[in-house]
């Protein structure tokens, strides 16, 4: 059985209705529960939970501290290519967007990683657009070959691949695969992904299954906040996570919270997720999933990131460049999205230390791949 079979048993509108029907009693029961269920998660992401935000934040802080200690894991993205044959309406790499396209050559990758390494990083995330002719499995393997000697932990956030390709990546040294469904609203999905390979909703939906079968160590899931009702989308993401945790029990999971940021040639977000709602969502995840890693990128502002450290987040990037070659080669080329927190990795680490947390640069060893 794949996730699609479970997914098909739910209807977007009914789920949405049931979330909005949650009451303060449901929230209080969820808060006092010893082992929180998916229904509790619904209550915690519902509008009824808004008045309980401080209580949720306190609990989230305690649970995170217990499991992860006073630490924040640091990682840096490297954008290898912005060539893309998809037409995602919210993305700066959209095929229709007439921008300078760039795919890093081996010597360029070496230059970029040298700079990232200089910033202190040991965990790196490889990012590309989707362009099968340019960034394919052999390109990834080659990039990994170049990067592997210098980093303890390599993750990848690229187009969905086949199980066999994930197996190859794992053997080559990939630790984590990050793939976000963007939205679980199947009816609306084509509006955001009208053409290209990404238009295939089902293939994307079953990507974590393929990565899980391939024995990938960590799988990252998430929804793009700003497309559809974030509460309903997050329920489906949690449903996905529940399924994955039970089925691929040896795999670790992480959840990311990308909120749509302004980018060239893209529409403003369809729904706005406020800071309060964002905090509610992060805390709800922690209350339901005590052991899942929660990640925040530089899409968020300095002020928000500073304050979210104690609320449940466990990993962060800093000083990120979201354009290929952005660290050294072509610092002015077009980004996937404008970053909001402009601090360097050192500045971020100093801030983390100043609130008595330890920035962790290495928490994996290549010997385990």
């Amino acid at each position: 059985m794949m996730f699609k079979e479970i997914f098909n048993q739910y209807h977007w509108d009914e789920v949405q209705e049931s979330i909005y029907a949650k009451t303060s009693l449901d929230v209080e029961m969820a808060l006092s529960s010893h082992r929180r269920t998916l229904e509790d998660f619904k209550a915690l992401i519902s509008p009824a939970a808004a008045p309980y935000l401080e209580e949720m934040a306190q609990l989230s802080h305690q649970l995170t501290q217990k499991r992860f200690g006073n630490t924040i894991q640091m990682y840096a993205p490297i954008y290898l290519s912005n060539v893309c044959t998809n037409f995602c309406t919210y993305c700066g790499f959209n095929f229709d967007n007439k921008i300078k396209r760039k795919t890093l050559a081996p010597d360029e990758i070496s230059l970029e990683i040298a700079e990232i390494k200089k910033q202190g990083y040991n965990h790196i995330l490889l990012v590309t657009g989707e362009a099968k002719q340019v960034v394919h499995i052999d390109y990834f393997k080659n990039a990994i070959e170049i990067i592997k000697p210098h980093f303890a932990n390599i993750s990848i956030e690229v187009q969905p691949l086949d199980q066999e390709e994930y197996e190859k990546l794992r053997q080559a040294g990939i630790y984590a695969v990050l793939v976000y469904q963007e939205t679980y609203n199947q009816e609306k999905y084509p509006e955001y992904h009208p053409k290209g390979r990404k238009a295939n909703f089902d293939y994307r939906l079953e990507t974590p299954d393929r990565a899980g079968k391939a024995g990938i160590h960590k799988i990252g899931v998430g929804v793009l906040l700003g497309l559809e009702d974030w509460r309903t989308d997050s329920f489906f993401c949690a449903l996905h996570l529940d399924y994955l945790q039970k089925k691929y029990w040896q795999t670790k999971y992480s959840v990311s919270f990308p909120r749509i940021r302004p980018a060239e040639g893209v529409l403003p977000p369809n729904v706005v997720v406020s800071d309060r709602e964002m905090v509610q969502l992060i805390c709800a995840y922690r209350l339901r999933y005590e052991n899942v890693e929660l990640s925040i990128s530089t899409r968020e502002s300095e002020q928000f990131r500073n304050n979210i450290i104690k609320l449940g987040v466990t990993s962060m990037s800093a000083g990120s460049k979201t354009n290929p070659g952005g660290y050294t080669l072509d610092t002015e080329s077009l980004e996937q999205f404008a970053i909001s927190d402009e601090r360097s990795s050192r500045q971020m680490a100093e801030y983390i230390s100043s609130i008595n947390y330890e920035p962790v640069w290495k928490d994996w060893d290549k010997s385990f791949i």
Partner: protein
Amino acid sequence: MKNLKIAGKEFQSRLFLGTGKFGSPKLMEDAVLASGSELVTVALKRIDMETNTDGLLAHLQHPHINLLPNTSGARNAKEAIFAAQLAREALETNWLKLEIHPDPRYLMPDPVETLIACEGLARLGFVVLPYIHADPVLCKRLEDAGTAAVMPLGAPIGSNKGLRSIDFLEIIIEQSNVPVIVDAGIGSPSDAARAMEIGADAVLVNTAIAVGGNPVEMAIAFRLSVEAGRIAFEARLATTKRTAEASSPLTAFLG
């Protein structure tokens, strides 16, 4: 209080510490020093062996502190053995805390792979201290495989729930020919004292100290409680009675 002996090495302190989850390496160092611990475990995956500028290790350079590298992150015996060899080379010690938890959620130890790895590592000359479930049969199997000690859990790791497995720990302690170190779940000094009172040879504590309000003070509290528990065990506790002494004993007729 008697010294503890593991694989021929003597320890005055029966409190072992984990080094994760602290807010800074300096705080970790201060807590380790305050605890009086002579054996601290360090995850191989946290050590940056390439740059040789590892913050963690720099804070553990004290003559009385012995390092116990662990294989956290390994999902099977093969990975654990490979990691162990790297750790031995990097930290110049053949002591090893064997951790194999293929389940990344609750970090539950895999008994099958742990036994296989223990056999292999013992053959390679390692002093193996395996993290395991409180399973008395597994403990005996590990003894046969050449383990130097056993490290059964008191409760799920990081849970601070105390000695939930106490009935099994008592059986393990009763039967064991190697030191028994209660490894996970100890949440408060009273839990540690209790473990020592029932005859555990040592305890390993991390989360309860690292994320306590004041880790250094908490380390002192654990040091005292471990000593108190051990002294009480050696002094032999008065037995507890479930009933009051009967005023008309049933055996009075025997004169």
